[in-house]
Structures are given as C-alpha cells and as structure tokens.
C-alpha cells in the first residue's frame, strides 16, 4: 500500500506544471488537460463546423493530438465527425 501511494505522489509532482515556469526543473513534462472533456466542453458533432475547423488544417487534414492535447477518446470522435462533415461538403 505504501509503495503505491509513493508512486502516485511522484507522478502528480511531475505533472504539476501546466504553465511555463522560469525555474522549473529540467525534464519535466507539460500537462494540459483535454479541451473537449469535462462539463463545459463543446459538443463534438459533424454539424459543429466551427469546432471542427479549429482542429483541422486549412487544407482539411486533422491536427495531431500532441499539438491540441485532445484525449484519445475525443480524438477518435473528432476523426469520425470530420469524415462525416467532409462527405456532405461542410468542411
């Protein structure tokens, strides 16, 4: 039990920095929470063109999730929505 607790705290410390800090330790990863998850998140839908345009290039391709920090689940939903919107020429 003790061991697992320790490892948890370590992880949290490593993910603490969500903003660029001048005195941060080297090797610490940035963590930005998914903008499409949570309570106030917008609806991912093929009709929501404004949202889809945010997560695609102008040429029509999808932006990678490592750029937008969208979670895996939502990225899959996005991909499906984009394909549907393309079919009826919305984007």
């Amino acid at each position: 039990m003790k061991r697992s607790k320790k490892s948890n705290t370590k992880r949290r410390n490593g993910r603490k920095y969500s903003k660029l800090n001048l005195f941060q330790k080297p090797g610490i990863k940035f963590f930005r929470s998914c903008p499409l998850s949570g309570k106030a998140a917008p609806i991912v839908d093929y009709k929501n063109i404004k949202l889809l345009k945010k997560y695609t290039y102008e040429s029509g391709g999808m932006l990678p999730s490592r750029v937008t920090s969208v979670s895996q689940k939502k990225q899959r939903e996005l991909a499906k929505a984009v394909k549907r919107a393309r079919l009826i020429a919305l984007i």
Partner: protein, 115 residues
C-alpha cells in the same frame, strides 16, 4: 426503434417548389415504411466546401427520424436512383439532440461551445 439523422443535398439551381417536392417525397417514404419524423431542419443554400458533380452550391435538408433498419434501407434505395440529389448522409445516434441547431444564424452562434 432506432434514432437516425438524415441529411439531403439538392443542387443549388433547383427551384423552391421543386426542393419542397423532393423533400416531401422522402418524408412520405419514411412514414410509409414504419418510420416517424421527429424534427425537420432547413439549413438553406450553402456553398459546398468542394465541388460535387460539378455543383458549387447546394440546398441542405436535415431530418431527425425514428425507425428501423428497413426504413433506412428503403429510403437510401430510392435516393440512390434519384438524379435530383447531389448527396445524402445517414447517421445513427443514441439520442436526439433537439435543443441545439448549429445552422441557425443567431442560435448557432450561442450554442457553439456549450453543452
């Protein structure tokens, strides 16, 4: 009964009367094949993002319906033959979202970013 969303696109140069006729025709097909139309939306004349069958503009209809697999089968069979349509899309959804309308000019702006 399953929930479906259906979108139709007719060429931009078809007249209003003709558009209404096409729309009514498919609504009848749904009702005849044990389906139920819950809500209809008109997205109106829009610029297509890319050319489809040499059309630059299209008139969009959107139907939210309930039905079974046979309803959709009959509907799409009729649409595949029809030359007065550019394209159509059927999507199965778990539940109909009747509140948000993304293509209403005022409402659509409000709804963006809200659940």
């Amino acid at each position: 009964m399953n929930c479906y969303e259906h979108t139709l696109i007719t060429p931009g140069n078809t007249s209003e009367n003709q558009n209404q006729k096409i729309f009514d025709k498919y609504r009848d097909i749904i009702v005849k094949n044990s389906g139920k139309v819950i809500k209809t939306e008109e997205w109106g004349l829009r610029n297509l993002a890319h050319k489809i069958k040499n059309n630059k503009k299209g008139f969009y209809f959107h139907i939210k319906l309930e039905g079974n697999g046979k309803t959709i089968e009959e509907l799409e069979r009729a649409e595949n033959i029809d030359e007065s349509l550019i394209r159509f899309l059927t999507v199965k959804v778990k539940k109909h979202d009747l509140k948000t309308n993304f293509f209403d000019k005022e409402e659509g702006y409000k709804n963006f970013g809200k659940k």
